[in-house]
């Protein structure tokens, strides 16, 4: 059972568990992660080692060159997570609204059913009851 399932007593289960607000917040956190990766990328790219000479300098520049692609990939992955979480938050809101509407309909139908059962109980013995009404 999902920890974020809501209580829908008539349906007896939550067809759309989750927290849309917290999911949006999750998407924001992914965005912040992506932003930080992009800023670190800028920091590393801005570093100019061209003035350095020698084998150690060559090695430093070679290793420095491996970071931008790695940071771009991680930033891109975080942006993908952000987009997915953000999109899902919107869909989840819609599904939950639909589930809430179904819960209200089910509650109303249950109340109607109980009212009809109560009416039937008050009818004189031998009365004809249209079972479809129940």
């Amino acid at each position: 059972l999902n920890a974020y399932a809501r209580s829908l007593p008539t349906l007896e289960f939550d067809p759309a568990p989750g927290d849309a607000g917290l999911t949006r917040n999750l998407a924001r956190r992914h965005f912040e992660v992506a932003q930080e990766a992009r800023q670190v990328l800028t920091l590393v790219e801005r570093l100019d080692l061209s003035a350095l000479q020698g084998r150690a300098a060559d090695a430093l520049r070679t290793v420095q060159g491996t970071f931008p692609p790695a940071l771009r990939n991680t930033a891109s992955a975080a942006e993908t997570l952000q987009a997915a979480a953000s999109s899902w938050a919107n869909q989840l809101s819609g599904f939950q609204a639909e589930a809430d509407a179904l819960e209200r309909k089910a509650t109303a139908a249950t109340a109607d059913h109980q009212a009809l059962q109560a009416q039937q109980a008050m009818l004189p013995p031998g009365s004809v009851v249209l079972t479809d009404d129940l």
Binding site: L22, T23, E32, L47, A56, Q64, L71, A77, A78, A85
Partner: protein
């Protein structure tokens, strides 16, 4: 002889940059580890999201570690240059 300084500002900047970059990624790794993917509700989606976050956190960790190591190497290069500079200065001083 006093002009025979080979301390390189670029190397010092490299050390600082790689160290800063590494330090900035450390909280990102912790942040990703602390995110609760269960909030999305749907089990399969939460599982995949959790896996992706863990993978991303691990990648940030690897990049951060590599940046820290490169800062260390830059520091070693800087120290070697400084040592060479001092030796040259001493030799030049003795020759005067």
């Amino acid at each position: 002889v006093a002009d025979l300084r080979i301390t390189d500002p670029a190397l010092t900047a490299a050390q600082a940059t790689f160290r800063t970059a590494s330090d900035r990624l450390a909280p990102v790794v912790r942040a990703l580890q602390g995110l609760d993917a269960e909030v999305v509700g749907a089990g399969p989606l939460a599982g995949k999201l959790q896996d992706a976050q863990e993978l991303l956190g691990a990648e940030f960790g690897i990049v951060g570690q590599a940046l820290a190591e490169l800062a260390g190497h830059a520091s070693q290069v800087n120290a070697a240059l400084t040592q060479a500079d001092q030796q040259l200065s001493r030799a030049a001083g003795a020759a005067r």
